[in-house]
C-alpha cells in the first residue's frame, strides 16, 4: 500500500496546476477521455494505462494540466469508473480530493440498447435515468422506457 501511494504521489506531483483522475479501470480510460470532451484540447495531458494497483490489479490514470472540471461533468464518469478519485492540484499540491457521485440522469453519452427505440433512428440526444442495483448500474431510457446496461456507453 505504501508503495502505491508513493507512486501516485510521484505522478501527481509532476503537475503544477490541474486535475488528476486516478483509479479509473484500465479498459475505460479512452471512454473517460471522451466523456470529459478531452479530444483535441490544447492542455497537456498525461495518460497512464495498466499501471499496477493493489485494489484494482490494473488501473488507469489521467492527468490534465491547467484544467478544472465542474462536478456535474466529472460525475458522468461514475457510470464507467464509479471508484475513480479526483485530485485537484494547485502549485504542485493536492488541494482537494473528491469521489464521484452517480448522476440521476445521463444525457447524451449512452446509447439505448433497444433497436426499436426512436433514439436509434432519428437524430435525438439520448436521455436515461440511472438505476443503482447495488452492484451494477442500469439505465432507464426516457423515450422507449426500456432498460439498458452500461455497455452501450459511447
Amino acid at each position: 500500500m505504501e508503495n502505491n501511494i508513493n507512486d501516485t504521489k510521484l505522478l501527481v506531483s509532476a503537475l503544477e496546476n490541474g486535475t488528476v483522475l486516478d483509479h479509473i479501470p484500465a479498459e475505460v480510460v479512452y471512454k473517460a477521455l471522451d466523456i470529459l470532451n478531452l479530444k483535441g484540447v490544447d492542455n497537456r495531458i498525461t495518460i497512464g494505462i495498466n499501471l499496477s494497483s493493489k485494489a484494482q490489479g490494473k488501473k488507469g490514470i489521467i492527468k490534465i494540466a491547467d484544467k478544472f472540471f465542474e462536478d456535474e461533468q466529472l460525475n458522468k464518469l461514475a457510470l464507467i469508473a464509479p471508484n475513480a478519485t479526483v485530485n485537484i492540484i494547485r502549485d504542485f499540491k493536492v488541494v482537494e480530493k473528491k469521489t464521484l457521485t452517480m448522476p440521476s440522469e445521463i444525457i447524451g453519452i449512452a446509447k439505448c440498447m433497444n433497436p426499436k427505440c426512436i433514439t436509434n433512428h432519428q437524430p435525438i440526444k439520448t436521455r436515461f435515468t440511472t438505476i443503482d442495483n447495488g452492484n451494477e448500474i442500469s439505465l432507464l431510457c426516457h423515450y422507449c422506457e426500456k432498460i439498458s446496461d452500461t455497455r452501450g456507453i459511447l
Partner: protein, 302 residues
C-alpha cells in the same frame, strides 16, 4: 393552462385516472357533445390500425372537432426522409392536439417534447398505449363496480404484450392481486415483477390456463402478436398455446368478465361470445367514451 400530453399511463396520477373514468361515464350517457367545435385535431398514424384510429377519429367527431391526418406513412414526407421532428413541428402549427401512432418506441414522448400542442400516444411500438389502458380500467370499473381489491388473471403474451404491462402499472394503484398465465417463453418481464415487489403487490405465475380460471374477477386475454417476434420458430411454438372455450367456464365466479384488447385470433373461441362472461366487444365500444374523455381533459374542457 400548461400543455399536458398523455404518453405513458404513468403520466396520469391516480386522481387523474379516476377523473378520466368519471368523465367517460358522462360521455357514455350523452354521446354527442359539440363543445370542441372549431378545433382541429391531427390523427397521425405512421403504422396501420383500425380500431384505435377509428375510435379516436369518432371521438374527435363526436366532440365537434375536425380531424386531419393520415393512416399510412407512405403517403407522407417521412417517405422523402423528413425527420419526425420536422413533421411534428409542422403539424403543430395547424392543430390543437396531435393523436399519433408510430412503430418506433419512444416516438410519442419525443413528439410531445417537440410539439407545441398536447400529444396523445395511440401506441408507440411495443412500448405504451395508454388510451387502451384507460379503457381497460373503465371496463373493469363498469363490470366490477370498483377497481379496488380485484384479482386479475392476465393470459397469453405477457412478454411483448404492452397492454398487460400498462394495465399492471395502472392497477398497482388499486391493491390488485395478479395472476400471470403464460408459456415459459412469454413470461412477464422481470422489471414489471420487480415493480410489483417494490409496491408490495402480490402475484402468482402459472403456465396453466385452467389453474386460476375460477378464482379471478377479470380474465385479461391477449393475442400472441406475430409482429413482435424476431424469431419465427419461437412464434410457431407458442402461437396456439391457449384456447378458451365456453365449456371451460362452468365454475368461474358469477361476476367474472373476460377482456381482450382485440383483435383475437384463436385464443378465445367464438362460443365464448354468447356467454355472460364475454365483455370484449363492449370493452372496445368503451374505447370511444374513454378517448372522448382523454381529449376533453387534455384540452382543459373537463
Amino acid at each position: 393552462m400548461a400543455k399536458k400530453s398523455l404518453i405513458s399511463i404513468g403520466d396520469f396520477t391516480k386522481d387523474e385516472i379516476l377523473h378520466v373514468l368519471e368523465t367517460a361515464k358522462e360521455f357514455e350517457q350523452n354521446k354527442v357533445q359539440n363543445f370542441l367545435e372549431g378545433k382541429v385535431i391531427a390523427s397521425l398514424f405512421f403504422e396501420p390500425s383500425t380500431r384505435t384510429r377509428l375510435s379516436f377519429e369518432t371521438a374527435i367527431n363526436r366532440l365537434g372537432a375536425k380531424v386531419i391526418g393520415f393512416s399510412d406513412a407512405s403517403n407522407t414526407s417521412q417517405s422523402k426522409g423528413e425527420t419526425l421532428k420536422d413533421t411534428i413541428k409542422m403539424v403543430s402549427n395547424y392543430v390543437d392536439m396531435i393523436v399519433m401512432r408510430h412503430p418506433l418506441e419512444g416516438s410519442s414522448r419525443y413528439a410531445s417534447e417537440v410539439a407545441s400542442v398536447p400529444v396523445v400516444n395511440a401506441g408507440d411500438g411495443a412500448n405504451q398505449h395508454p388510451s387502451q389502458t384507460l379503457l381497460d380500467l373503465y371496463s373493469i370499473m363498469q363490470t366490477q363496480g370498483t377497481l379496488d381489491g380485484l384479482t386479475i388473471n392476465m393470459v397469453g403474451d405477457l412478454k411483448y404484450g404492452r397492454t398487460t404491462h400498462s394495465l399492471l402499472q395502472a392497477m398497482s394503484h388499486f391493491k390488485t392481486k395478479f395472476i400471470f398465465t403464460s408459456p415459459d417463453e412469454l413470461k412477464m418481464p422481470k422489471e414489471y415483477k420487480t415493480f410489483l415487489d417494490c409496491k408490495g403487490i402480490k402475484y402468482e405465475e402459472t403456465d396453466s390456463l385452467e389453474e386460476h380460471l375460477n378464482d379471478c374477477d377479470i380474465l385479461y386475454m391477449t393475442r400472441v402478436q406475430q409482429e413482435r417476434f424476431t424469431d419465427p420458430m419461437e412464434y410457431e411454438r407458442v402461437k396456439d398455446v391457449y384456447r378458451l372455450t365456453a365449456s371451460m367456464l362452468d365454475n368461474v365466479k358469477p361476476g367474472m368478465k373476460i377482456l381482450h384488447p382485440l383483435p383475437r385470433i384463436t385464443e378465445i373461441d367464438q362460443d365464448v361470445d354468447d356467454t355472460p362472461y364475454a365483455y370484449y366487444f363492449k370493452q372496445a365500444e368503451n374505447g370511444l367514451y374513454v378517448r372522448m374523455a382523454i381529449i376533453s381533459y387534455l384540452l382543459g374542457y373537463r
